[in-house]
Point group: C2
């Protein structure tokens, strides 16, 4: 049966490994929530499936259940009240270890086939998952569908394909024959067994509960490990549905479903204890520096793959498309109210302004024009609400509300009334400006729709400031706007040293905060914002080991 699944998905897997090598456009899961792709009834069924969870017990059939937990607060004000099973962490670990040997011995091919099937099944549930993502995170519908569904599935398949590439490079068994001159050769048979490291703990975040979770889940499972998913306390439902779907696919294929379980913990200390459990050998984490650094400092028994805070930035030196640049930036800053780990926070502009196709613009003009571009974008309430979504956390809301104290306000935030969800907390981006010397204002992550136009002495100082921010505080994305090749080149070299992605002169429908699976590496793993990347060899290669045996033949 597992061989059959591998055969079923072999062609797509080959496409996926080819795509990894080509890194040109490839997306196996359609990002259009269209009836033509997903079926005429998919949208309705997905919505109903989502609604069927509300106010009920969410059953997973996991061991060691000691109670239930509810408490997700929707940024849209939707009542969720889903009651999730709370299980003894030790029972989940025990069950994971019990499930592990069969899963390991299935081999890379068997595991990959089942996981390809699971991804396909998740894809079929994209509407249901999208509603869960939207309602828990505050994302707008289209983002929730795309990032929460197909794009997350793309990233899952990317990690799976990468793991397959690394595992399939190791032969299962070989004859080793060493010539001995005139004597008969030495001959041995050798077997190379791929074994997992142990339990993989995947800790989700509150903003992208599937997109930032699937790479770790699929990389760890693919390489022979059981996985325990610990979702963010306010974004449990998307993780719970994901775990449920994968458990079903496991069970259908004769695999102990406890190879993946959901750990709902009500205390931070319970998550910490789980992360330090001797059987836990990898931890995938997306979230705050505080908890991420705690993991890195304390979980010595495990490989920790961490995506932490950063200060993403863009340098504007000059442009030949001023309006298009402003529009592009305004959309970037508005998308999901700046609650993407890739959103620009700092926009660095030389003190004496920039050259543009509309003539010279002073520093203050650039700031004011960017503010106006944002204001223009959010002026259409319906479009604005669809793009902004709602503010995910109380902390972000607090930051938005106090942001005017951080620096001089260019554009204040504004509360919008959502046409569909009256209780939604919708806030437009706040734009501030300050001098480069005012580091306490902008030189730390201000997660949410809060950006700074920062005045640098000149273009060289702007590039140098970008590099220093990246090296000292980390960044997942940087951008440069310049018509001068030497400035672009200086920025390119700065990003090599800082080890960060760079987008150059984006003025169309690509935004600095977007990252496409199978082409864009998400994070480099080389600056403080993340020690790993979605998805490269390093993300998968240390999740398995090879135990060999040899004997004479």
């Amino acid at each position: 049966m597992t061989t059959a699944l591998f055969e079923k998905h072999k062609a797509k897997l080959a496409q996926a490994t080819d795509a990894l090598a080509a890194r040109s456009y490839w997306s196996p899961f359609s990002e259009m929530p269209s009836p033509k792709v997903y079926g005429e009834t998919a949208a309705d069924e997905g919505k109903r499936a989502f609604e069927s969870y509300l106010g009920k017990r969410f059953d997973l059939g996991q061991p060691g259940q000691v109670g239930t937990h509810a408490g997700e607060q929707s940024p849209y004000g939707v009542a969720l009240d889903v009651h999730y099973p709370v299980c003894e962490p030790q029972a989940l670990v025990d069950a994971a270890l019990k499930a592990m040997p069969t899963w390991e011995q299935l081999g890379a091919q068997g595991r990959t086939g089942i996981l390809m099937e699971a991804l396909e099944r998740l894809n079929q549930r994209s509407f249901e998952i999208a509603h869960a993502v939207m309602t828990t995170t505050g994302q707008g519908w289209m983002m929730a569908f795309q990032a929460g569904g197909p794009h997350a599935q793309d990233r899952g398949l990317e990690a799976l394909a990468c793991a397959w590439r690394e595992q399939s490079a190791i032969p299962g068994e070989v004859i080793w024959e060493k010539p001995q001159g005139k004597n008969p050769p030495l001959r041995m048979q050798k077997h190379f067994e791929i074994v997992g490291r142990g339990v993989g703990l995947v800790i989700g975040c509150g903003t992208f509960p599937t997109w930032n979770t699937y790479p770790g889940v699929f990389a760890a499972l693919a390489t022979g490990n059981p996985v325990i998913v610990k979702p963010h306390g306010n974004a449990i439902l998307p993780a719970a549905i994901t775990v449920k779907v994968i458990r079903e696919v496991m069970q259908e294929n004769g695999i102990d479903p406890n190879i993946i379980t959901l750990a709902v913990t009500t205390e931070n200390s319970a998550t910490q204890a789980l992360a330090m459990h001797p059987a836990v050998k990898s931890v995938d984490f997306t979230g705050s520096n505080q908890f991420g650094n705690w993991l890195l400092d304390n979980c010595k028994q495990a490989q920790v793959y961490a995506e932490l805070a950063g200060v993403n930035n863009v340098v504007i030196e000059s442009t030949d498309a001023y309006r298009a640049m402003l529009k592009n930036l305004a959309f970037s800053l508005s998308l999901y109210s700046g609650q993407m780990c890739t959103t620009t926070q700092v926009i660095i502009v030389p003190a004496d302004g920039i050259a543009t196709d509309e003539g010279h613009k002073s520093f203050d003009e650039v700031a004011a024009d960017l503010g106006a571009a944002i204001a223009a974008f959010v002026a259409d309430n319906k479009v604005a609400c669809a793009v902004l979504g709602a503010i995910q956390s109380d902390d972000t809301l607090r930051r938005v509300e106090e942001a005017h104290t951080y620096a001089e306000v260019v554009l204040p935030t504004q509360a919008l009334a959502h046409p569909e969800f009256p209780a939604a907390r919708v806030r437009t981006p706040v734009l501030l400006k300050c001098d480069a010397s005012d580091e306490k204002a902008y030189m730390q992550e201000r997660f949410g729709p809060i950006s700074f136009v920062v005045r640098a002495a000149d273009a060289q100082a702007a590039v140098a400031l970008s590099e220093r921010i990246v090296r000292e505080h980390g960044a997942l994305t940087t951008g440069i706007y310049s018509m001068k090749p030497e400035v672009v080149e200086a920025m390119v070299e700065a990003t090599w040293r800082g080890k960060v992605s760079l987008s150059i002169n984006l003025t169309g429908n690509i935004f600095v905060n977007q990252s496409a699976a199978f082409s864009d590496f998400h994070g480099t793993g080389g600056n403080p914002s993340a020690n790993a990347s979605y998805a490269d060899s390093a993300f998968v290669a240390n999740r398995f080991r090879v135990a060999q045996r040899r004997f004479h033949v």
Copy 2:
């Protein structure tokens, strides 16, 4: 010029990557110290080159030199008195960082070509390096030539080929084109730049100063990093020659030779400061648990690849070739006086003895017969001295001399007079026996020619004990002798859980402590004896990162 070197070595590189995929026998550098391979004059020239260093200053032309250091003590009693440059660590780091950008921008192809050339040049110096290895480590001549020369070069090429495979999987530039339905596609050009992590520190050991150093050196250099080699204080010369040769090849190709330097430190604290230097991003280490764990605990700014202590073990349940088994084990235990990180320390035998082709043998008979086999092997003084070599360190000598206090002596150690080096400290293996419950005797690494025959309740307990040793104390090698498929199978599964290599029923000219590049993984990276393996994807993949840039076209 660098393209020319890549072209020159391209065919061999392709063979190397093919060999990694096949893992059948392949050795690019000949292990026979034969004039037919190395040239009629190579042996004499190598000896003279080695002798030319003795009593002299060893010049490397490195920056920041503040003095010289001599002090290597040869286990053969040969006067070395080579004076090495002592350089300010900060000067070496500064020079490394200065050399790094050009090296990075050369690209994987340029770097690989130069490093292939360097390996070929090292191969031509195999006799010289063999004398340096033999004299500093106490290895016998043949081992010093093979393990110190061609086998080390094989491992260097293996790491280089592995790094090439991972780097060449990433395209340099691509066009990304996303369809937009009826509208024109979104088109972007993307560049993927491979960048190094930073300075790679490679800390050598006293017993295998090239074999255990070349993988880290070549993996780190190949992936765009400068390297600082910190040799063991008593095995500087092999590292110094290696660094000198690589520096020469760099210089010939217009590369700043400070891309690799030798750090001779006289204080442990200086090594610690270097290992914790913020610019040092990887540390390769072979040596004691004490220092290795210090590195793992303290060098948070770096990836640490550590090979530490272990308790290698063999289970004997039954055999159909009793004499051949004893002979094989006796040779394993004698080779370089048990000073290999892969030598068996614990031989586990059921209390009620074993079935053999010579009838039943009791536990005590097995122990006594193994002792007799060792005694027979070392009875030929010339052969014994050639195989045993000399005792490398004072600590090992002390352990050999006090070993009779650890457990009941089966075969005492014996000092032999070396026919060529009167001052050589040659000791034959000591064999002890004890009960499995006497854990304080055998359940820790007793590095050197000290082995224990350990009495387990039965075969099942023997396998279980082996597994526990591996999981709790680590091991690079295990072995099993059994005619019962179910016992072999139980041991195989134990080694999957313990993540350790297994040799089954070795009775011929392959020994449990041998590990062949391009076929055998050295260490799995999955038990306490090592967190990395020579050489797999995980050994190379996290030594570089990819910084991408993208723009509309």
